[in-house]
Every structure is written in structure tokens, then in C-alpha cells.
Symmetry: C2
Subunit: 234 residues, 2 copies
């Protein structure tokens, strides 16, 4: 829209535009969410997603990246727009729409200091506290989209360290889908995609025998995408 004239109504009162970040992480076979305790009134002390107003001179997605950097120290992170929440009374007192974006981070990469400085905390999905406004709804929607996306994109890899084992990858998908998967079928399928490179190292952190580490091959993944494969697991 680029009109020449504008309703006075729009000028007098202000429409606020915010972005809220749904930050997922994965640790010890659990899918987690970063929430933080509001330090300012109103709703001080309540749990909330991490957000900010969008600045006039910044792109929407950059605003999300900024919030993420401020709270976790991470840059260039996988982040995707979820949807925009715009009920007129979603924020009592203000007219504020919020563009929700979700990020997937490798949970051992984030800066613990920054997170603590912001009063933030990792909560397990399924054990979330009540969040302010429509933030619980946002999380639920994000989870839904995460499930959807995981079918068609190897999105889950964003949540794992660079080197990971197949059992770890399986645990991640189990956390996202919230059900158990068959280990043989999972391994078969994920290896058949040809996007994993087996390394010579083993990870012994979760068994005596140890499991081989793999890394993700982005080139092969690109080829897969153009060929139109899907990442659905049974």
C-alpha cells in the first residue's frame, strides 16, 4: 500500500508493531523453549516470549535476529516467520500487532550469561508455564508448524550440534513428533537420503560402545530439494 492520503484516525493513535521470538532448543533428548521473566510493568514478573518493537529502519526478519542476538548472543541463526497476531484486544491498553518468528538453536551454543542477564530460562515443551497474552498460542502454533516443516525439510538439523549421532537425531524427531520411532526404519530412511556424512569419531557420552558421529551435507541436501524429496518419518 502506498496511498497519498491517510486517515486521521491512523495518525492520532498509534499502531504498534512488535515481533516475538519462539526460541526452540534441544538438549538431553528434550525439546525446550526459551522464555523470559518480564522486568517491566505491566505484567512484570510474568513469563513471556522474548520480543521487541520493530524499528522503523529495520527489516522485520532483522528485528527477530536482533532480539535473538540480544538474548542468546547468537547470530545468523535459522529463523522463520510463523504468523502475525493481530486481534485488536490481544494486548490490553495498546493496539499492538505482533509478528511471531521462531528460531531453532543448538542449545550448547547459546550464551549462558546473556540468557541469565535477561532473566530467561529454558523450559521443556510440555512443561511450559503460563505465558502472557497470546504467547502460549504462539508456541502451540510454532510447534505445529515445526512438525509440518520437519516433514519436508531437514529442519531438525538446525537444533543439533554440528556433529551428531543417529540416535540423537532420532531423539530429536521423537521430541518434535512426540512419539517413538522405530530405530531401524529411522536409520534406514535417514541414511537413504544421502545427506549424512559418517565420520570416524564416536560419541561415547550416552553409551559404552559409543555411536558414530555424522555431519550434515548441505550440498547433497540441495540436490534432494530440487529432486523434491520429503523428510517424513513413520
Amino acid at each position: 500500500m502506498a496511498p497519498e492520503t491517510v486517515d486521521l484516525y491512523q495518525i492520532k493513535e498509534k499502531m504498534y508493531v512488535a515481533t516475538d521470538c519462539i526460541i526452540f532448543g534441544f538438549h538431553q533428548s528434550k525439546l525446550k523453549l526459551l522464555v523470559f521473566k518480564r522486568k517491566v510493568s505491566p505484567l512484570e514478573g510474568e513469563w513471556s516470549l522474548i520480543g521487541s518493537f520493530v524499528r522503523l529502519d529495520e527489516d522485520l526478519d532483522i528485528a527477530g535476529q536482533r532480539v535473538l542476538k540480544e538474548t542468546t548472543g547468537l547470530e545468523n541463526v535459522f529463523m522463520q516467520q510463523l504468523r502475525t497476531y493481530g486481534k485488536k484486544d490481544r494486548d490490553p491498553g495498546y493496539r499492538c500487532i505482533s509478528v511471531a518468528q521462531y528460531a531453532l538453536i543448538r542449545i550448547d551454543d547459546y550464551s549462558e550469561e546473556l540468557v541469565e542477564k535477561h532473566g530467561a530460562k529454558w523450559y521443556e515443551i510440555g512443561d511450559l508455564p503460563e505465558l502472557i497474552l497470546d504467547h502460549n498460542q504462539m508456541v502451540q502454533d510454532a510447534l505445529e508448524q515445526l512438525k509440518q516443516n520437519a516433514r519436508y525439510k531437514p529442519i531438525g538439523f538446525e537444533l543439533l550440534p554440528e556433529k551428531f549421532t543417529i540416535p540423537q537425531l532420532q531423539a530429536l524427531y521423537e521430541a518434535i513428533y512426540q512419539r517413538e520411532l522405530d530405530a531401524r526404519n529411522f536409520r534406514k530412511k535417514v541414511l537413504s537420503l544421502n545427506v549424512l556424512e559418517k565420520l570416524d569419531e564416536k560419541d561415547k557420552s550416552s553409551s559404552k560402545r559409543g555411536a558414530f558421529l555424522y555431519k550434515f551435507n548441505y550440498e547433497n541436501y540441495q540436490n534432494l530439494l530440487t529432486a523434491g524429496y520429503n523428510f517424513e518419518f513413520s
Copy 2:
């Protein structure tokens, strides 16, 4: 509320929130899009999506419904949020984010007068003119999402009249996917879903023999959904 002209200084200090509607229709086996010719400067005479600023006292989705009603006369139409476009320079001179929403309408329901009054026109997908700003991108994204959605929801039914034939339904899916489908396999699959009710009438508008009319059974569809079926066609 009478519009008033404002100067650029004021405009640049403010974040505008608009919504743009991607209105799909289906007619004569063609998927079409409703676009309109701008009547105001800047970009007067250019083709554009139909949009509006979001009012302070209206929900985001209501704004979309309002735009739709103003241009087509239709109410209570299937409409879904696509995503929000928020590049800082997407609209030169203004800082305006736009929430794109897409609608599917039965093309013989709309009001021709209203459409003409707004200088709007139906264009075939695949034969679209150049649209202002990032509107072509919006359409492309909407088409992509339409394809995705059509896999999991019988979304296409919104585009057909209440009574329709199976060949019509197939033509719709072919228009969405932009490829031909096998008539036998299509019929087999769609009937196996148990969401169509065969009527005793035939439609003879496209063949001498005539094709049986069907209608959609929303109850059975609800059952399907909870059972987790998908509407993917090969």
C-alpha cells in the same frame, strides 16, 4: 473518518500496517486472481493486489474480510493469513508492513458491479501482469501455500460451486498443481475419502453425456481430519 493529506515528514516517522488480499477464483478450468488498477498516485494506473490499512479498532483478519467485501461483495469467505512482508524499503517513501491474506472464492458468486467499480479484473494465474511493490512475490508465495495446503485439506472445495462434478474438481487440482492428473486415479482417491455425496443430477454443460454432480460432506471431512488423512494427489 475523512482522509487528509499528511506530509512526508510525518509519514516517515510512522509505521503503517496494511493488509493485502490475494483473491483466488476458479472459472472454466482456470485458476484466476483478482487484481486491481490503482486509482491514486503514486503508481496510479499500475496493477496491484487489493489492500487497505488495518484500522486501529479492527482485528487483522477482519480487515481482510472487509477488503474482500468491499471489492467482491462477499462475506464469510474462506481466508487465511499468508505471511507478513516487512522489508524496510518494500514501499518507497513509507515504512509500511503488509500482512498478506489469501482468499478462495467461488467465482460465480462475486459481484460483478463491485469488482468493476473498483477497477478490478480477473487474471489467469500464469498470465499475470506485473504488480506493484512485492505483490508478485506475495502471489507466488500464496500459490505455493495453496499447493501445500491442498495436500492436507480439501481446501479446493472452497473454489467450487456447491454442486460440482468430479472432472471439475480434477481440473481445479490440476490448476493448482499446474500439471495433469490421471482421471482414474484421481476419481479413485477422491471417492475413497468418503467426503463426497453423489447427487441424482447431472451437469451437461461440458459434455453431451453429462457428469454426475456431487456435494461436499463436511461432517465426514471432520472425521477424516481427526483420523489424520491427507489429500495429496499423484
